[in-house]
Subunit: 396 residues, 2 copies
């Protein structure tokens, strides 16, 4: 079936992304860095601004989204909900600090440079997000997902994503009519925070029921198909409820982790994640325009300097938030885990650009800062991982 | 990342396709039919003409294509190349007969009804294709892929696809300038037939080399990722060489089946096929417009009668072709395996419509006949499977 779709370009992008991701991931691992850093760099190289093998088209973005949904579903399957609840208090405090500090820093910095209040709000808001995708991937690679630090980071990243989407709703409304009503803020907050609670309360018994029903079926692959369909539907529900799809996919993993088919589902989903998740990381890297990074081009200087400032503020704010955690944990590791901004930061930046709140130069600086913090996190986590592995070993 | 894509509709389509496919597949199996028939029917129900949950959008079609590429890759991994070569002669004769008989039948029928020569050429051409996807899926379900009959059907279906694309090139040229040059026909034939030979000759040593290189790597999931990237590149090369992507994916499976990591690749690819292939079959079913099938609507009568005639001709031509096989095989089973038209038939019909060679009423009839033969094949294969299982058992 052709239907006028440029299937060849999607296939080429998919194949190059897989080859580039594994090649650069392997090199990154050999020089002692997390593989995902290599995948991001492969994306920069394969993206439109260098080789152009991975264009940012509908086809590529859809496959990348399926990849990150499958990844967060797998991370959820790997996560112990009881452990996550146990770290709830420090995770929430870290999440709140990791939003408040970068927001204030970004806002004040932009105001100090003489930008309008609305522009400063968007600059601050774009620095608040934490990328669950990047962080979860690095934690998995470092085998730190099950440690107390890993669970605090994950819990705080989920809370950040939920709160970040509340902030997005509020900021979007501010951009629209210059003010926000208390009722609207409360409604958005209730919707986003409530989604996870309701989803888990309903989803855990539902997941057990699903696994039982599927056990009666004879058709091939029914368990993994049903599990993925469930994850897609919860992801969709999360989006409709004002949260992000990946939060829904993660919640589904948490639910199915509490069934007796957890291991079978995990075994079947893992290769699908191996095939589809690299495209997500490559597509994130592919959105970096290297021409904007050239320091020898004078036109780039104002944006690069602003970007440098925002990167430092974004980094320090998130890193400091890690030190709000307690309970004998490696706080520097937690702080590092909160640093990557990823896709939610880009959504804020894009919204700011679309509404005119962020002029082109500031938009570029925000995007550079989002990427810079994303690229910083994997090596940082690696540096501070030493103590965590020990802590995990003594926990076990 | 949003970028204005209607991700929610893709997620909903994906989830509904998976649930519908497994539900109807299970029901089909319980009433003694192949599961793929249920998946096709689920597609009709979920498609735009009934429930509208699975629209025919870019996102759905790309995921469906990835699904059918993974499926044919898995079928290739399951296929023994030596066995396929052994059945080469009967498979080729069956392939030629299964193109010639429906073409002549469709051409003469359309001429007898008073249609123009060009129209008759397109009607005949649309009836020549054989769907590897549907046939391979049913053969897998019936555990008949490794039988002599299964290998003849598969070999003939591959040959049909290659020859069908030659015919497509020729017919397209005829539609363009009312005549075809011998040089053009020869070139298209050489390109399409030559692709498989060259791909296999180069690919088998390359596949062994690839598996060896990948063995040195440490990053997670590198074997399955490399195998899928290889399949995507060969699929792309097949398309560029004038063949179909799925022929390339099938060829890659054949290559990797001759390496010592065959089993590991197969284990990792199977769940990915389980997740993505249903969307292909559902999307094929979703393209049926049930309003066109209503026999109580007088407007549908001419098209339905023409469709009935073409279905009978298309069925008899393909079924009879099975009787050209030799070597103590169940010829009725082989004939049934050649019956489904699938996507290549639709490509011919669409080309005929676009170039004006097929007026709307005849186009609809051709599309109905393509679908009718596709839906007929799974139960037919099931009916004639009895003797084949015995033959396979006595072979083994």
């Amino acid at each position: 079936m052709d239907h006028g779709i440029d299937l060849a370009s999607v296939l080429l992008a998919f194949a190059s992304a897989l080859i580039g991701a594994k090649l650069f991931g392997e090199v990154a691992e050999r020089v002692g860095q997390p593989a995902v850093l290599g995948e991001l760099l492969a994306g920069v190289l394969l993206g439109p601004s260098v080789l152009g093998l991975v264009p940012i088209t509908t086809g590529v973005l859809i496959l990348a989204e399926i990849g990150v949904i499958l990844l967060l579903f797998e991370v959820g399957l790997d996560t112990n909900l009881d452990e996550l609840v146990r770290v709830g208090a420090p995770a929430l405090v870290v999440a709140l600090a990791s939003m408040a500090l970068p927001f204030l820093g970004g806002f004040l910095f932009a105001r100090a440079l003489g930008h309008a209040t609305l522009t400063a709000v968007f600059v601050g808001a774009a620095l608040t997000a934490t990328s669950i995708g990047i962080t979860a991937r690095v934690l998995t690679e470092l085998r730190a997902l099950a440690t107390r630090e890993g669970q605090i980071i994950l819990g705080a990243a989920v809370a950040d994503d939920v709160l970040g989407l509340v902030l997005l709703a509020v900021v979007a409304r501010i951009a629209e009519n210059g003010s926000a009503s208390a009722a609207m803020v409360l409604r958005a907050t209730a919707l986003a925070v409530g989604f996870l609670a309701v989803a888990l309360a309903l989803g855990i018994p539902l997941a057990r029921h699903l696994v039982r029903v599927v056990g009666w079926a004879n058709v091939r692959g029914v368990l993994v198909t049903a599990a993925v369909a469930f994850a897609l539907l919860v992801a969709l529900a999360a989006k409709k409820a004002g949260s992000a799809e990946i939060v829904g996919a993660f919640a589904t993993g948490l639910m199915l982790a509490r069934t007796n088919r957890r291991y079978d589902i995990h075994e079947a989903v893992r290769p699908a994640v191996d095939i589809f998740a690299p495209l997500f990381f490559v597509s994130v890297g592919a959105q970096v325009d290297v021409a904007r990074l050239n320091p020898f081009n004078g036109e780039n200087h104002p944006a690069l300097l602003l970007a440098l400032g925002l990167t430092v503020i974004g980094f320090l704010g998130k890193f400091a938030a890690g030190f709000c955690a307690w309970g004998g944990v490696r706080r520097a590791f937690i702080g590092s885990g909160m640093v990557p901004r990823g896709e939610v930061g880009l959504i804020f930046a894009a919204l700011g650009k679309d509404t005119g709140a962020l002029p082109e130069g500031i938009f570029v600086a925000v995007v550079i800062a989002v990427f810079a913090t994303t690229f910083l996190a994997p090596p940082l986590l690696k540096v501070f991982a030493g103590g965590v592995s020990t802590a995990a070993a003594s926990n076990a």
